[in-house]
Amino acid sequence: MAITDAGILYGLLAVGAGLATGLAGIGAGVGEQGIGAAVVGVVAEEPGFLGKGLFLMLLPETLIIFGLAVSLILMFAWTPFAAIL
């Protein structure tokens, strides 16, 4: 494909989509590391806490889904606009 404005735009969209999911993933990972360590500590002392620990542990996972939602919008919902441009 010859490099046209639309082509560059589409490429940038793809890069943006990748960054959205990737950075959100890093953020969630950073968020979970502290929670995970704490939960493992608590569960070692009190096994009955496992359920609530999982609950807390999985809270930041939603961040990735937000990133993914943005990526999906970029890749699919904006493609028609990109074609017009």
Binding site: L54, F55, E61, I64, I65, F66, L68
Partner: protein, 674 residues
């Protein structure tokens, strides 16, 4: 099913003469969840243990220590004993066998200690081998002080300076210099301080005789013979364990039951001549409980049910009503998931049935592969045979049902270890003009609107290829739809729970707005996608109303702070699509890697792959699919779990703190015959 079993508050009062038959019967019935006597009522005091409570608990302690020496652990019962069998063998087991076990074990401990002492002595002696003295020369003097140890530098000159009458022997090993200093007793303290300047560290020489090397070999050989003595003792314990394991477990159970019965009055309120037992029992069982206890006590006891208002009052004063979850057999395994989070309170809903409905579907939708589904099904069947404890069985049943759904969704998505690449060959290719038509409308992704596979159903929707754009867009919609449904059920339960607790304001201005917001937010989005402006306006208006209601609610303007969470809760359901995409992506990559990269590459461009290339390809396929399947058990399990715990349970569950599980007075008989 959605509510715990209905409970009644029960009071058993009677003459102290019949306390034993009543306790016996209560224990046998296993119906009454006892409420412990708090000791606060005037005129009543805590009861005293009946019968031989002390004897039983002493026996139990002896038995448990014996079981610990023998390393007897609880297991699935293979033989059962009757009470009389246990009773006749109990004393023999605890005293005769117990003494034998204890003495054997203690002998083993003594051997360990003795051989450790010998080995330690040998270790101490080893450095002394460099000195020319026999061992008896190091001790037994009346006028001499002896210093033996390691030093950092030569000490001869300094010792001679403070004590002209002295004898110093020195030598060095690989790691340290060893000295033995003999001086008159009156110079001992001065010599000691001189030695410490040279970094002296004392070695305490054991009182042995003869040459150092022969002493060491003597010590080591006696340690070895002690160790050899241990082996038959270990074998003896092993044999005893094999012989008595079942009896020990049965006796443990028998004694536990007896102590439980004899110590039960500690939980009752008593007066001089009477006793009162408080407790909760399922309402439906009250008739049986009353009849059985009254007949056991020959009419000297009264069993009454408190009326609802009175029971309610007690509950309000801090008495916990026990929760007994009430689910049919097929739903029961899912109580594991509920329990992992919290036991529902008596007045709350038991969400187990909802988990049973939603969890397997979510699991299936994420995994969605016939191959993986069948493999997991078979693997779990094996695990189920292997691990027979309750927890494992429940877990296995959960995954078993979920894997069936994975197979069903696998058929919908057309995946057997990744997307089907054979579809075109089976179904034939699409006609050229149809492909052109699809390309014009922008709907061409491979063949078929929903990917390379679609030929069946309206618009060629089945089997859809999850990697095709239209399929992704459609699954986004389905995920959000499941989310709205899931959250709405949760919200409705939330409203009903608040009403059960009589909190109308919380019900209508905190829970209801969530329901309205989420449902109409979905309608709003749907309207935007479909271009139906009427749905957009309707959705917008109701969303505004729900925000206003939230602000009017118990939290005031702060309530509006929850609004972003309502949106994020729905977006969170996108994981149903997202994690599935990741897994199908990996499976697709595995197939591509093996069939289109590794096999052609290793065949050197030959028409059909060589044997070596085929084997290499199969290894790669196996490895990548195996990893993907492991991930495919873990994430489709964890994420729906999260959707239940975070997105759904928070809407209605445990707003008032966790419940207390119904555990009736009694004991499950596992090793004893009923």
């Amino acid at each position: 099913m959605l509510r715990p079993v209905e409970m009644s508050r029960i009071v058993v009062a009677g003459s102290k003469d019949v306390i034993e038959p009543v306790v016996e019967k209560l224990h046998e019935l296993r119906l009454l969840h006892l409420v412990n006597f708090s000791g606060s009522q005037n005129g009543f005091e805590m009861g005293k243990p009946i019968g031989k409570a002390k004897e039983y608990s002493e026996d139990l302690i002896k038995l448990r220590s014996m079981a610990r020496y023998l390393d007897v652990k609880s297991k699935a019962p293979t033989v059962t004993f009757s009470d009389s069998q246990v009773l006749s063998q109990k004393d023999d087991l605890i005293n005769k066998v117990g003494d034998e076990v204890t003495s054997t074990f203690e002998r083993m401990v003594a051997i360990d200690a003795e051989s450790k002492i010998k080995l330690d002595q040998a270790k101490v002696l080893r450095p002394l081998a460099v000195l020319p003295l026999p061992l008896e020369d190091y001790y037994g003097y009346e006028t001499l002080a002896v210093f033996v140890g390691t030093v950092k530098s030569a000490v001869d000159a300094d010792v001679a300076r403070v004590s002209p009458k002295s004898e110093v022997y020195s030598g060095s090993t690989k790691t340290a210099s060893i000295v033995a200093v003999f001086v008159p007793k009156d110079k001992a303290s001065e010599v000691s301080s001189v030695l410490s300047e040279h970094g002296f560290a004392e070695i305490s020489v054991p009182h042995l005789e003869g040459n150092v090397d022969s002493a060491i070999s003597c010590l080591e050989s006696s340690a070895k013979s002690l160790e050899a003595e241990k082996a038959p003792l270990q074998q003896k314990l092993k044999d005893l364990r094999k012989q008595y394991e079942d009896l020990i477990l049965a006796t443990d159970e028998y004694l536990s039951i007896q102590t439980q019965k004899t110590e039960a009055p500690l939980r009752f309120a008593t007066t001089e001549n009477a006793f009162v037992i408080d407790g909760w029992a399922p309402t439906s069982e009250f008739g049986r409980l009353k009849a059985d206890i009254e007949s056991a006590a020959g009419g000297h006891v009264d069993v009454e049910k408190l009326d609802d208002a009175e029971a309610e009052g007690l509950a309000e004063h801090g008495e916990d009503i026990p929760t007994k979850m009430n689910n049919p057999g097929i739903v029961k395994p899912y109580e594991l998931i509920t329990r992992l989070y919290a036991i529902p309170e008596y007045k709350e809903f038991d969400p187990t049935l909802l988990i049973f409905v939603f969890f397997p579907i979510m699991f299936g939708m994420i995994l969605g592969d016939i191959g993986y589904g069948v493999m997991i099904f078979l693997a779990v069947m094996l695990l189920k045979k292997k691990f027979r404890t309750d927890g494992w069985q429940q877990l296995c049943n959960i995954v078993l049902i979920a894997s069936v759904w994975a197979v069903i969704f696998g058929a919908v998505f057309g995946e057997i270890f990744g997307p089907l690449g054979l579809w075109g060959k089976i179904m034939g290719h699409l006609p050229e003009h149809e492909i052109e038509l699809l390309k014009e409308t922008g709907g061409f992704f491979g063949e078929g609107v929903f990917g390379a596979l679609g030929r069946l159903g309206p618009g060629g929707i089945f089997p859809m290829d999850r990697l095709a754009t239209n399929a992704v867009l459609m699954l986004i919609g389905i995920s959000i739809f499941i989310g709205v449904l899931h959250c709405s059920v949760g919200s409705i339960f939330g409203i009903k729970t608040e009403l059960n607790y009589g909190e109308k304001k919380h019900a209508y201005f905190e829970r209801l707005p969530v329901l309205m917001f989420q449902v109409f937010f979905a309608i709003f989005l749907l309207g935007l996608v479909m271009g139906q402006m009427i749905m957009v306006y309707l959705g917008g208006i109701v969303i505004l109303i729900s925000i206003v209601m939230n602000v009017m609610g118990p939290e005031g303007p702060m309530g509006a702070a929850h609004i972003p969470f309502y949106v994020s809760n729905l977006i969170s359901y996108l994981r149903l699509l997202a994690i599935g995409l990741a897994s199908v992506g990996l499976a697709f990559a595995a197939n591509q890697l093996a069939f289109y990269v590794i096999m052609p590459m290793l065949s050197g461009g030959a028409e059909s792959p060589t044997i070596f290339a085929t084997i290499a390809g199969i290894i790669v396929l196996f490895l990548v699919h195996f990893i993907n399947m492991l991930l495919g058990i873990l994430s489709p399990f964890m994420h729906p779990l999260r959707l239940h715990y975070v997105e759904m349970f928070t809407k209605f569950y445990s707003a008032h703190g966790g419940g207390v599980e119904y555990s009736p007075f009694g004991h499950v008989r596992r090793f004893l015959k009923a």
